[in-house]
Symmetry: C3
Amino acid sequence: SWKGGPEVSAPGGWSFKPRGRLQLDSAIIDAPASVNAGDGLGFGTEVRRAFLGVEGTLPGNFGYRMEVDVASSGVELTDVFLTYKPTDKLTFTLGHQKAFWGLEELTSDLFTSMLERAAFNSAFNFERRVGLSGVYSNKDLLVQLGAFSANAEDLTSDGNNSYSFDGRIVYAPKIGEGRLHVGGSAHFRDLNDSATSVRYRARPFFHTTDVRLVDTGNIPATGERSFGAELAYVQGPFHATVEGHQITPLRPGLSNPTFRGGYAEIGMLLTGDATVYKGGIYDRIRPKSPVSAGGIGAVQMNLRYDRIDLNDEDVAGGLQQAAGLSAIWIPEDYVRFILNYGHLWVSDAAVLAGADPDYQVDTFGVRAQFDF
Amino acid sequence: SWKGGPEVSAPGGWSFKPRGRLQLDSAIIDAPASVNAGDGLGFGTEVRRAFLGVEGTLPGNFGYRMEVDVASSGVELTDVFLTYKPTDKLTFTLGHQKAFWGLEELTSDLFTSMLERAAFNSAFNFERRVGLSGVYSNKDLLVQLGAFSANAEDLTSDGNNSYSFDGRIVYAPKIGEGRLHVGGSAHFRDLNDSATSVRYRARPFFHTTDVRLVDTGNIPATGERSFGAELAYVQGPFHATVEGHQITPLRPGLSNPTFRGGYAEIGMLLTGDATVYKGGIYDRIRPKSPVSAGGIGAVQMNLRYDRIDLNDEDVAGGLQQAAGLSAIWIPEDYVRFILNYGHLWVSDAAVLAGADPDYQVDTFGVRAQFDF
Amino acid sequence: SWKGGPEVSAPGGWSFKPRGRLQLDSAIIDAPASVNAGDGLGFGTEVRRAFLGVEGTLPGNFGYRMEVDVASSGVELTDVFLTYKPTDKLTFTLGHQKAFWGLEELTSDLFTSMLERAAFNSAFNFERRVGLSGVYSNKDLLVQLGAFSANAEDLTSDGNNSYSFDGRIVYAPKIGEGRLHVGGSAHFRDLNDSATSVRYRARPFFHTTDVRLVDTGNIPATGERSFGAELAYVQGPFHATVEGHQITPLRPGLSNPTFRGGYAEIGMLLTGDATVYKGGIYDRIRPKSPVSAGGIGAVQMNLRYDRIDLNDEDVAGGLQQAAGLSAIWIPEDYVRFILNYGHLWVSDAAVLAGADPDYQVDTFGVRAQFDF
């Protein structure tokens, strides 16, 4: 069968499929000239993601995925794991994987509604980690639990012996013509002498820069705990999502600050296509009338409010709010073009505009994408 | 179908093919013992190129290629792009690609007639860049235009906002039994504060060393412009090529030097095989009688004069001239062995022989190669 | 056909197969608290190997393999070569390959009986190198010879012009119901000004740490020579292996020390399966009754004594002895889980326990593995 690329299979449970994706981004980040960010802002172009990999299945209900990102002219491991599915409802995964951070983080970056996920997803250092997880799904219920060490690259250091426990529950019943999604996640991490501090910071809406206008700097910590809440409703071409997450670094001998981030979004497909929700996350929208069939493909408009607050207790990392508007064009299945505008209000910023910690930034970005 | 590796396809426009190539080189660069190049010259062996990647097509006239070079035990992106072919005559390419530098640079490194391309191709920093290009081809005419930012690896730096406009025109009519190739290219690049200098330099005929005997050193510049001219004639087993390129770094407040390079070459297949020219470049020679069919494969002899002059105005980078002789053996389609001798005359060299800037160098190299 | 992954072929000698492997390790290295190894010991997790690559054949008896290890979030070339098989008995290999170090080193890391090979294999710097080799095999006889330069990554340095000659002979006659294996190898390497010293050292049984308790430090040398001896017997579910290797760094103007390592091992499959020996090395054990067929797969128990002595002449690198016990479970072909316990006796250690160079270490590790 064909899923962007060929999937080959053989009797007994064997299958194999190459995987890959390419995201090419250009963006303008138009901050006041007085913002002290060197040459990091302004116009930028980057290979956002360039994944190459494979996935497959073996007899005995085993499966695997091995994929790397080479976008930065280096190697970053992404999904690199072995799976075991004793029943249709249960999946165990051993290896480098996402730790059930929340709805948008678990939704593939191929299917996000803006160029980048909401600020808290990167600010709170959501990443893949090597661990063992179990997922139980039964009709409307999804339970995800895992124990993790650290990111694969961090594990190349002998001294890294951090660990975490992460879980997420989703209840997603049909409500009339649509589907409701209610979810929550909890995360407990012990740095266990692998590090003595944590840091939370966020880019200004796009990834073409490495500048972070809001940034807590290093916070002495022995661990961190975080909680996420998710609410969404999907019906035909329409979806609405609200998600929040709060994280608390555990400071020895000091009171613990709590930082909060979240977003609210609505989106609408204008072309008679339907938003796709599956397994507790958003999935691939396949245009009913692609260009190759004489249609115009699928077009989705999305509007979002995104907020990350890195001020609490004695930590003043700044508050970044953004209004985002995106238009996504899917001319063919597996091909996607995105236009994305964002307006940012930054206050108590870690990067000043002259002497002023409060200012606004306009951003505009485009992406071309395909995958297989 | 099979093209070195398997090409799988499915109805509607889907196709997929793995890609790869390996080039293993050994070479001796025999310079006077007094040449002050540390242990960089002499005998060397290297994995010259080790590419792994994929290419494919999607419905709607989309296509893609993603390939990386891992020869240096790192990742270098090579062709990483999305294409769109609205008609047979028109191709748009978005992503990491060559910027239409000239005949030899656009000819695949799998099919060059010496181990390395003529010195100006590397001296003038021809490279792939992220950009958008359009190619129009109609019978004997080829027009290539593009706007580019920088090399993918350079783009990982926030500050890189250089851009260029590049174009090339080729007219290639049939003349009697053969085909004439006349081409020209023009290139305009603005460094746009991403850098404040450019540098031109060339290796001594082979790539096994990182020593450059001719080298302008850093030249303060805000941009550069260059022009190339190409002339070739192909008839059956014979080909002759002449190509030249001149580049001018734009120096603020100073007169602009112009550096010139070029080569002239003739080649002959001795085995009844034919040189292959296609789409404005040289293409794969497929032996009529490969070893597996009881033949001896294809054998090509090539003779070249190669010149790079990095002296102009107040810049004294040196003059390197080379006479090259190569024998290429293609025992089977997709397998190639090359013997290559080169004699170099270096003057005003950046690397002295004792106190003498003028000297001669003998080089001999071999390559084993396959691809799929 | 299917070999973990799909092997595609076409008439005339074409074939192509993707390759990959994943090994995920966790281990505890429980040394006395006084051992001065920073945070390098204790509990550790790592992606031990993550290979991605391809192999194939071409008409004319050519073949190739290109594979890289990305486990360390970088690229390490593994098998990257072109082969030519003029007859069934003769294979020439050009490229990055193993230099016939010995039985266990040449046995794939997929099939070793402990998590790691015996200490001398890494202590003596067995590695892949770029070179040309020839292998002759005829019934019970195997002769392997090669000339090599250096590891691909080392060759990216201009100055590396080391070379070696390496050979191995194996005689493996059937003896009654079983097969005897007798082998020897010899290795001569000239550093040839690419380096001025060598260093021998070994990890404490597992690879999750980069600490080496035994370590000669840098030894001034112009080259090294080494010899290996191998003896094994395989019959049905049983195997016994004894292997030793001694290496002598060649010190200019000083007497040459000789360091010795070796191991003795017995193993037994408890599930009616058979140990597989092929082409002078151990090969893949395929369970007769995998879990998918209602069985329990194959289970193998192995017991080993492993010794590395880095003390000789004026060099006091230490002596490390280990007793290892492993249980290997192969629930399905191409999937493997390993439990491994090791007890180490270290004396004259390079890393002291307080002031004491003699101490003992307990280790326990697990691995999950699949390949295709």
